[in-house]
Symmetry: C2
Subunit: 210 residues, 2 copies
DNA sequence: CTTTTAATGAACACTGTGTTGTGTATTCAT
DNA sequence: ATGAATACACAACACAGTGTTCATTAAAAG
């Protein structure tokens, strides 16, 4: 890997732009924000902004890219399978490690992520986050199930679970992160493994039906 | 209810605006579209647009409102509980009527809804759709479960299921609606009632654990 | 210390916005 | 059918934001 020394001025300017960008995202949202707003607040020349980014959409994209890359890194590093018991079976009491780490990452970067995943957030970003989760969930399902045993199409099932996870993350962020990443991951694990109806208390009916 | 006769010219103009709006939403998306684009395409004067809407955001909001109201109407009309068997128990084989109707509504209005719920869609609208589903799911859970039997917090459970439903709807729209509303509703019902892990084929493990 | 280059400040043309005033044409009510 | 009401067209307006350019200044690199 080639180590390039980047001019300090560049680093400082980009840093200031990103800081201010995060601030304004929270205060007025992306669409309402202008490049003028940003550069005035950041106390840099408007022209300077265009030395670094094509426009505000480019800035958004590049900022999202960083978060996205972090998340993919987590997904790749955390070999996110459940631990296996003596029968090489899934341990259903244990939360999914990747999900814990994902919550932890959200917690660390909540300022910006909260906005991106919020009601005035960015659909495209949400789709990307969902893709990361989907990939991991697909891995999990493929690991522990035989395709011929599936009762519903794999892609819809993955879509179901991943969207559910993202939705719970959004709810959690919106509530000001009222639980720990561990608690949240366990909660999600319980619903996903035992099923919404079961954890809602419909046990008898389900047992009977099966 | 007072029957107001609205000037035909108004109706025609608004009709044309909405038609063109839907077209442009699909072609270039909301943010890329200008009022100029719209009025030129619709062949009306730009000033006329401002006689009916404050700006393009107002137009978007009012268009979404209509869809939203339709969905709430469906939610209110369809007494969306599952049918009960002789023991006054939930029939788990039957899809949720409200969900069938929701899919049918999406199918009818797919041109516009596909864009709003798509990757370049509107987060706020997605939140609103989710709210409609949430309300109905909460009703369902409250109907069939006793709060003290709940194994996870109600609000997170509702969030989980509703987000999952919306996610599957989005997937379905993105795939060009490859199944019927009935099939989709049954699929969702199966996952929600028996659980993702169960329908993925992890039956033995789950039985053993319980 | 010299060279390189990032940032500044000011100006530019351009696009889109939202409003206004006047005239025309359609619609409504009788 | 006719007059009154009003929605729409047309044109012009000031304004805000964009993205670019160029000469100048300041800071960093070597």
């Amino acid at each position: 890997m080639v180590e390039k020394k980047i001019d300090r001025r560049i680093l400082r300017t980009r840093q200031k732009i990103k800081e201010t960008f995060a601030q304004l995202m929270e205060e007025k949202g992306f669409e309402a924000m202008t490049v003028r707003d940003l550069t005035e607040r950041a106390d840099i020349n408007r022209g300077t902004f265009y030395l670094h980014y094509l426009d505000k959409y480019d800035l958004l994209e590049k900022s999202e890219d960083e978060l996205f890359e972090d998340m993919e890194k987590i997904a790749d590093e955390v070999w996110g399978n459940l631990s296996l018991n003596q029968y090489d079976q899934v341990n259903l009491d244990e939360p999914f490690p990747f999900i814990i780490q994902l919550f932890e990452y959200m917690e660390e970067n909540y300022e910006f992520i909260r906005v991106l995943l919020g009601p005035n957030g960015n659909s495209a970003f949400q789709v990307r986050v969902k893709e990361v989760i989907k990939k991991k969930m697909l891995e999990k399902f493929l690991r522990y199930t035989q395709p011929e045993k599936m009762l519903v199409p794999m892609d819809y099932l993955v879509s179901y679970v991943s969207s559910a996870h993202l939705g719970v993350i959004q709810q959690w962020l919106g509530r000001g992160m009222d639980r720990t990443p561990q608690e949240m991951a366990l909660l999600l694990s319980n619903i996903s493994n035992f099923g919404p109806a079961y954890v809602a208390g419909l046990k008898e009916i389900i047992e009977e039906k099966k």
